[in-house]
């Protein structure tokens, strides 16, 4: 019975590919694996250069911007300094002493004309502004607190990373499965 299931899943021939490989092919597979990792890294770092943001893609983690953004939605950020922040912009900012960046909208803004901007934010779904979320005594945010401004939106995709963060076992299982697939599977 279990043999039949294994056969159905192809597990009985899983290592046959590996056995049939010679040394060159093994090296090739390992290099291929390395290529995938470095491509992903290059895309991420390339986006950082193009968008000028330390984190060009973020996942929405809270419901404070509902019904615009829900938990698990994906936002694309840019942070070009030549485009000043304006009221109504959706900014992703970091607060001292908090690990997780916050995605909220700019509600008030004062600019002194010499690029010293101070502004106040609020979540669309919150009743009050964010002064209670800021560091104790902090009344305003400044451009240095900003990770980026939301310019693009794709729903749901970020749910994958939320599940992986909530259940680390899923993350390791997926990583191991992917690595095994790439290393063991031979292109025919």
């Amino acid at each position: 019975m279990s043999e039949a299931v294994l056969k159905l899943l192809g597990a009985d021939t899983m290592f046959d590919d590996l056995k049939r490989m010679n040394k060159r092919q093994v090296y090739y597979q390992v290099l291929n694996f390395g290529m995938i990792i470095s491509t992903a890294l290059m895309i991420w770092k390339g986006l950082m250069v193009v968008t000028n943001s330390e984190s060009p893609i973020v996942v929405v983690l809270s419901g404070s911007m509902e019904p615009a953004f829900f938990r698990g939605d994906l936002l694309f950020l840019t942070n070009h300094q030549e485009q000043p922040i304006k009221v109504g912009d959706i900014v992703v900012f970091k607060i001292e002493g908090r690990d997780i960046p916050i995605v909220h909208r700019v509600l008030q803004l004062h600019d002194d004309g010499n690029n010293n901007i101070k502004f106040l934010t609020k979540g669309d779904n919150n009743w009050i502004d964010d002064r209670g979320l800021y560091a104790p005594g902090q009344m305003w945010l400044q451009p240095k607190d900003v990770v980026g401004r939301a310019k693009g939106y794709v729903p749901y995709i970020g749910m994958v990373t939320i599940i992986m963060n909530d259940y680390p076992r899923v993350k390791y299982a997926v990583l191991v499965a992917l690595a095994a697939f790439v290393l063991l599977h031979r292109e025919s």
Binding site: L8, H110, Y153
Partner: protein
């Protein structure tokens, strides 16, 4: 080679490719659209007073009201999930610690399917209009704009400013902002 896992993998990969392609096409169809439209802001009146706010100290506070009329129905195309509409007071205050200021006075979320006509007589300001450089009294030019952020099903987050705006000169005396209930 054609076991269940391989087939599942192929089906999943193909459906995700198709979904990604369709989403991208959906984004392309609305990517270059102009979401602007005419707005009427009229009959503005304003009052200024001093206020004391925790953390800011003594500041100036203003209340502005007026009529607001706009029809945002045409902006809802198939890739518009929600409009976040907000009224901004914009003013310059040279010779103070601030110079350019923007304050949101009022906002509204309009989701797809909800009525998108706004016709507010004497709109009620939702957020406090505070100025910590105390340059509101006798400010000759506070301009009110209506602006909206189109939130798509998937794609670019566009911010558009409504055509037409209305300016108001703030009074040069302090008056009480809210009528006291106890006479």
């Amino acid at each position: 080679m054609h076991n269940i896992l391989a087939r599942l993998n192929a089906v999943l990969a193909f459906s995700f490719t198709v979904l990604a392609g369709l989403t991208f096409l959906c984004f392309l169809t609305t990517a270059f659209k102009d979401y602007s439209t005419d707005v009427r802001v009229r009959d503005l009146t304003g009052r200024v007073n001093v206020a004391y706010v925790n953390g800011l100290g003594e500041v100036e506070e203003a209340i502005i009201t007026g009529d607001l009329e706009v029809d945002l129905t045409p902006l809802f195309d198939w890739n518009a999930k929600e409009l976040f509409v907000y009224l901004i007071a914009e003013y310059v205050t040279p010779n103070t610690p601030n110079s350019f200021n923007q304050i949101v006075l009022w906002d509204r979320i309009i989701q797809r399917g909800q009525p998108a006509k706004i016709n507010q007589k004497k709109f009620a300001q939702e957020y406090r209009f505070l100025d910590d450089s105390k340059a509101l009294k006798a400010n000759p030019n506070v301009t009110l704009f209506l602006q909206w952020n189109v939130i798509p099903n998937a794609g670019a987050l566009v911010t558009t400013r409504g055509r037409n705006s209305q300016s108001i000169a703030m009074p040069d005396t302090y008056t009480a902002l809210r009528q006291s209930k106890r006479a």
